[in-house]
């Protein structure tokens, strides 16, 4: 029987064809003694199919809290008794956040809102914010505003939004245990609207929400089917007051297996370290991830929680001789 990493070396590294669901499951089931080998192969795949540059992004919560949805992992849901209280940024504050993000060398700035989908007020604020940022800051603007209508997708594209994020979060078979107020199919449909308008698609997940390994492999396959430009990998940070508050953190080896597996499933995507990596992996794990398939990071803080000092991440990249991706100019 051919070893899965041997198969992956030929199929993924040499031919650029991502692993299928059953193959991803084999990687997720590798013993601890083979995690380093899987990460090393994932790193080779990243270098071959993506290059050595690391994309750096900052994110900010434009509208915090009071979300009507019941995503069980989220402290911003208005349905759970969490410590998060509603807050809203104004446009000058948004522009300043973008400016500070750009000053770190980041080329992406994502505006996020805790909503099911944007209402007229939020769209007006996003419109003003995106226009102000594009006029003042040299940075690509991305948005994550929930489920879109076709008209809203049109408007975001016309504003020059570079990339739109809408995570699948979980495998289709697991989704109903994570969210009940909207469907996996509704999330999938928004991704198609984004792609049809030529915006880049950012679609990721949260690992560690009680899924089985089979469901984790299913998730990788479903993400690969979306074929996103970017896949943010979050690891559950169990928040007080949420239904998932008592779930244990993902074991570091499992997180690293997932990183390697997702890279081997999607050799060409921007695979981004997102929320929860500090708790799950720590400093050593961050290094292992960046040398194990990851080629993008969120710099600084997240939406409601705090991240690593940007100087630490940028120092790590410098130490590893990984250049920070620069803005490309489309003439």
């Amino acid at each position: 029987m051919t070893d899965i990493l041997g198969t992956a070396r030929d199929q993924v590294l040499e031919q650029g064809e991502g692993l299928g669901q059953a193959q991803v499951l084999e990687v997720l089931r590798l013993g601890d003694d083979r995690v380093d080998e899987a990460l090393a192969l994932a790193h080779e795949v990243r270098l071959r199919w993506c290059g050595d540059a690391v994309e750096v992004e900052g994110i900010v919560s434009l509208k915090t809290g009071g979300c009507p949805e019941d995503c069980h992992f989220c402290s911003q849901s208005g349905r759970f008794e969490t410590p998060v209280r509603a807050a809203r940024l104004d446009v000058p504050e948004l522009v300043e956040a973008a400016r500070q993000t750009a000053a770190t060398g980041a080329t992406e700035f994502c505006i996020v809102a805790a909503v099911r989908g944007p209402d007229a007020r939020l769209m007006a604020q996003v419109r003003a914010g995106v226009e102000a940022i594009r006029a003042a800051v040299d940075i690509n603007v991305a948005c994550s505003l929930g489920i879109l209508t076709a008209e809203q997708a049109d408007e975001l594209q016309a504003l020059g939004v570079h990339r739109y994020n809408h995570n699948l979060e979980a495998a289709r078979s697991h989704f109903g245990e994570v969210v009940t107020t909207h469907t996996w199919e509704e999330r999938r449909a928004t991704l198609e609207l984004v792609r049809e308008r030529g915006m880049e698609v950012c679609c990721g997940c949260i690992v560690g929400m009680g899924e089985t390994l089979e469901q984790r492999a299913e998730l990788a396959a479903q993400l690969a089917e979306v074929d996103p430009d970017e896949v943010p990998m979050n690891f559950l940070d169990a928040r007080p007051g949420t239904p998932f508050a008592d779930l244990p953190p993902v074991a570091p080896a499992d997180a690293l297996r997932a990183i390697a597996a997702f890279r081997l499933a999607m050799p060409r995507t921007i695979l981004r370290f997102a929320g929860g990596r500090e708790l799950t992996l720590g400093d050593l794990g961050a290094r292992q991830g960046v040398l194990g398939g990851i080629n993008a990071i969120i710099v600084g803080n997240y939406l409601t929680t705090l991240g690593r000092d940007p100087r630490d991440d940028l120092a790590l990249l410098a130490e590893l001789s990984m250049p920070v991706k620069e803005l490309s100019r489309t003439l």
Partner: protein, 63 residues
């Protein structure tokens, strides 16, 4: 705003009662203050890429 005693800024409950080890751990690792240490109200917290601000609707902004 300097607070001597009062409330745990992680959960809002009395700082003198109960075990706040988990609150302290979260504050050290990932969380800005969530509750006003003076009055226990939930803070309006805005996390930014390179910092955060927090304000109590009764006691004012944290500095």
């Amino acid at each position: 705003m300097t607070v001597v005693a009062g409330h745990c800024d992680g959960c809002g409950r009395s700082a003198a009662e109960g075990d706040h080890a988990a609150c302290r751990a979260r504050r050290a690792a990932t969380d800005p203050p969530r509750f006003c240490a003076a009055c226990g109200r939930k803070l309006v917290v805005q996390v930014l890429p390179l910092g955060w601000t927090a304000r109590c609707v009764r006691c004012g902004p944290l500095v």
